[in-house]
Symmetry: C2
Subunit: 191 residues, 2 copies
């Protein structure tokens, strides 16, 4: 198989296994077995196990950062901005489940350099999100709750929707998006 095809195949399979078993629990032999080759052959395509993890995580982390930076500076209302962010998380939850779960659960195993960059990106993401929330409160679009606590709670909900796929595959992406949007934006109580 060609070098670059095999490489992306390795990364994809690794993401799947890392998500299912955890990064440390998956050996290079396990990964190779799943690809039908021997462990030593992996090193013709990647330089280390850590590199695979970085290839999985860093790209997704940058995608999220770029997305929220664009949303933050566009001219939409706060509710529309929050809707765009929910949409992004839902798309990723449904179409990049393995990578998203890997990122959320295994980033601690990145090497020092990548982990530092990852945490910078995550902090930046959370700051951008907080800014959007605070803007919405200032313009009166959103209720004046504590913005930091609200951000953290909102993001906790969004980031962990991938647990879905392990348990409730019965709902379509559209169905989930509408309900999640409705709940997270409008609230729970009647009237």
């Amino acid at each position: 198989m060609s070098r670059s095809n095999r490489k992306s195949q390795i990364v994809q399979t690794a993401a799947h296994l890392f998500r299912k078993e955890g990064y440390q629990a998956v050996s290079m032999r396990d990964l190779a077995d799943n690809l039908g080759i021997k462990a030593a052959s992996l090193y013709n395509h990647i330089s280390s196990k850590e590199e695979i993890l970085a290839l999985i995580i860093m790209d997704m982390a940058r995608t999220f950062s770029e997305h929220i930076a664009e949303v933050r500076k566009n001219e939409n209302s706060s509710v529309d901005k929050l809707t765009e962010i929910i949409d992004m998380h839902l798309r990723t939850t449904f179409h990049k489940t393995d990578v998203l779960a890997c990122m959320n659960r295994e980033w601690k195993h990145l090497n020092d350099d990548y982990r530092k960059t990852y945490l910078q990106l995550r902090n930046q993401y959370e700051n951008d999100f907080l800014q959007i929330i605070e803007n919405g409160m200032e313009t009166g679009e959103l209720r004046s709750l504590n913005p930091k606590i609200l951000s953290n709670t909102f993001l906790s909900a969004l980031r962990n929707l991938y647990h879905w796929h392990d348990r409730d595959p019965e709902f379509s992406e559209d169905r989930v998006r509408e309900s999640v949007k409705d709940y997270l934006l409008s609230g729970l109580l009647l009237g």
Copy 2:
């Protein structure tokens, strides 16, 4: 040190390290170092690394199950029941942070028997929670959103509030509880 004191000290220290580094990343030698003894000495108090993980997780899992079973069968309104559940999660988030994070992140590494029991408890918990939500919708106390999607989203938010302690130690438990309650129960939009 007496046998039972040392044992609970081992479990507590392990919970802290497992949370910080991940179960697989913490060796018995790391754990022993943190306790100021040698790895071999640990085995005078516990039988295996897996047993330590089970001691951390299973007790907390049962506590959550018993709590929601009691809440489900009491006579309070749905909103009061949800409030009791939020309170329980907040108490645990603030006072048993290490154990809670361990349970959420490391349960996959339980041995087969414990993992099976853990998943039964978790399923039962989610069913009880779903029942409470569905009841609230039937009596008209809650808006009629999709109950499964709502449960999943609500629980995603609650279960992951422990990320807090890693980042925003500035808020008191009471302050967080009131804001989280307000948001998760009442909603975000003004009016």
